[in-house]
Point group: none
Chain length 420, copies 2
């Protein structure tokens, strides 16, 4: 079944808030085999709301509207919806009592008329009782289409979705199913990847679709199968994912929908190995990316951001002669930084970065965007020099991704050796 989401309110349109509701709703709908075909964010006006409802109704069976149910006068959603469904607004006694109780609990004795209006609902709607807020949700069914109106406040919306909308929709289960298989790949550009697996993609049945989802230095592949027989969908999606994984084996880091950082955390935790970082130009970004993931403490020991030469010597035991002879941005220095971090943090692996992140600070020899990276492993230390461009933010992101890739490659190599 197809759904559309309509969000009402200026906050999303003027960039004051990011619409995280829609992604969450899409994720909840997927297991019910309901795919979101369009998300539309509109202003709080009768024209915009009416047009959005009309157009969504022509394309989808399920229309979920969020926002525009607050008590202030700029919310026209309910009156517009009443006109749209050719019905009236009636005051719901149970909702009114609930709103009054919430007010009393907050210590207010008299409730303004605008708040009483929160208990007004479409006469033709099923009330989606909102235990966690004052604005009730509403569900309207018309000509086989299901409309839900929900508050825009994320936790109220989530409460009503989980307790009212999803249970109602799960009873509508159509006979169309969706199955997704995922591969996470690194070190191969989108187009090279596409060329390497063109024949496999060509051979896929029509109900199976492959999407390339690139992100700095990696590409996520999603195999989506849509059809009536769930077991066939799963078998075929996984079979083709497996074929692709075989073809580009060294580039596949996971056969699941997870991040590269999670892949690394899981692999290191399972192998009982620990990691630390010594960062100059990445300034702690690698450590921050890894520790953003719950469970990182199972394998992450710590990091040193050594911006100054003094810190490189004091904390990471880089030799003064190395800095003098080769400079801070050199493979020689990052090698000593990585080996120093390994020692200081008692870890089996360590990453080190040093470079000229920009936008200034470059020289003819060492231009902006030049980054040296080292990874010290159990048996050896690898180093590599990269030449990125002028944008500081992007250079830091690219250097972080390059460092994690280098780490992964050395880890894989050393695991193979230890297995032998």
């Amino acid at each position: 079944m197809k759904a559309e989401i309509i969000t009402i309110g200026d906050e999303i349109l003027n960039g004051q808030i990011v619409d995280t509701n829609s992604a969450w709703m899409a994720q909840q709908l997927a297991p019910l085999h309901i795919t979101v075909a369009q998300i539309t964010s509109i202003a709080d006006t009768e024209t915009a709301i009416t047009q959005a409802l009309q157009q969504a109704e022509t394309r989808a069976e399920i229309i979920i509207v969020t926002g525009g149910l607050g008590p202030t006068k700029d919310d026209v959603t309910k009156t517009t919806a009443a006109r749209y469904f050719k019905t009236t607004l009636v005051r719901d006694p149970a909702v009114l009592k609930h709103v009054e109780q919430l007010f009393a609990r907050r210590g207010y004795s008299d409730m303004p008329e605008v708040n009483k209006q929160q208990a007004d609902v479409l006469a033709s709607a099923t009330v989606l009782f909102n235990d966690v807020g004052t604005a009730p949700g509403m569900a309207v069914e018309r000509n086989g289409k299901y409309f839900a109106f929900l508050p825009g406040v994320p936790f109220e919306m989530k409460y009503l979705m989980e307790n009212r909308v999803l249970p109602a929709l799960s009873q509508k289960q159509s006979d169309v199913f969706v199955y997704n298989a995922h591969l996470i790949t690194i070190g191969l550009g989108e187009s090279h990847l596409a060329r390497a697996i063109a024949d496999i993609e060509e051979a896929m049945p029509p109900f199976l679709k492959l999407a390339y989802l690139p992100k700095l230095g990696m590409v996520r592949l999603r195999f989506t199968a849509v059809g009536k027989d769930p077991s066939v969908l799963q078998t075929e999606a996984e079979r083709f994912a497996e074929l692709v994984a075989e073809r580009i084996k060294p580039h596949v880091v996971a056969h699941a929908d997870i991040t590269f950082e999670e892949v690394i955390i899981n692999a290191f935790s399972e192998a009982n190995l620990r990691l630390s970082t010594a960062e100059s130009c990445t300034g702690g970004a690698i450590a921050a990316q890894i520790t953003a993931i719950a469970g990182a403490s199972r394998m992450f020991q710590g990091a040193t951001v050594a911006y100054s030469n003094q810190a490189k010597m004091d904390v990471l035991h880089v030799h003064a002669q190395t800095l003098e002879k080769y400079g801070a941005v050199s493979e020689e220095t990052v090698k000593e930084m990585a080996e120093g971090a390994k020692q200081v943090f008692h870890s089996e692996y360590a990453i080190a970065t040093s470079g000229i992140a920009g936008p200034t600070g470059g020289t003819a020899d060492k231009p902006v965007g030049m980054v040296c990276i080292a990874v010290a492993g159990k048996h050896e230390t690898t180093t590599k020099t990269y030449y990125f461009k002028n944008d500081r933010t992007i250079n830091i992101q690219r250097a972080s991704m390059a460092a994690l890739t280098l780490l992964w490659n050395l880890f894989q190599k050393e695991q193979l050796i230890s297995e032998k």
Copy 2:
């Protein structure tokens, strides 16, 4: 002028990514007096793209389309756009050369045909040259409407908006001028702020509008004046910004559109003071935020991410007894961490954090979301304990912001003392 944003691709519709691009674009368009009337997220199909373009064109003067420009065959945007504008695709030699150079730099000699296709642009379009990626943007003007097609990768989109689209759009402003004044405030919630300055806002002339742009722990105030006399706009916007700044003085950290990190970097650099961090629960996020800004090296000395107790003792010289008696998450421990960092990195100021970021790891005494922060300054060390909630990502962000606020307050206090 009215704009609409159309985002193309399944990732937003199936909830795999949150659409942060649109909010960013809306914020950039606002100062040009361009309001976003609708944001539409659609699938990568000819029907959806054509319909979205048609409908947007009836409502807005500016239509910005992002996504769907990758090299793989699941991207139908360009061919659909060619049909929509009744034009053809032509291979742009400058773009082709650029794409080939990017390939060569990555060490590939032969470029697949799909990548050559990235250089195909609408014959009727102005190419928006993409220095930071392979997919060029395109601008089409038809019947007084401006269409921009941009890649969906955030940093490429941002680059093209800042360097191609916004300059073009700002030239479309005929005799209407826009002036923006900004205040950056910390430590005061949006509604408290609004109440504190209600009378000033009330007194503003109709051509001046105040926007509250809240972000975790801070609120940016934007005074936008729109009219025909630039000098009047500037005078009035700045006068009211000054009135507000006077009213809420201790909360104002800057009278410009810069980030809090930039405020701190500038103030420390000017005062010739240096900063370091010792991070446990923030995992390097504070260091990464500071070093993301060019010029951070003028004042930032370094950081230690000390996840383990061993690292806290070895690198930051925290006493074993302190860890034993009070635990890693305690004001006593962060105090020693901050003072240790100050010493190790030879800085006048140091920040330390330790807490339970979550989602697990909490106890009855020390629940998930508990974070202890210390700031060591020239003369004293302040410590504070915070109780955030269950979300790891938000806890790290809140802890980082709280730490910078604590740093700023101590810095202000010690500067006042040294001025006396």
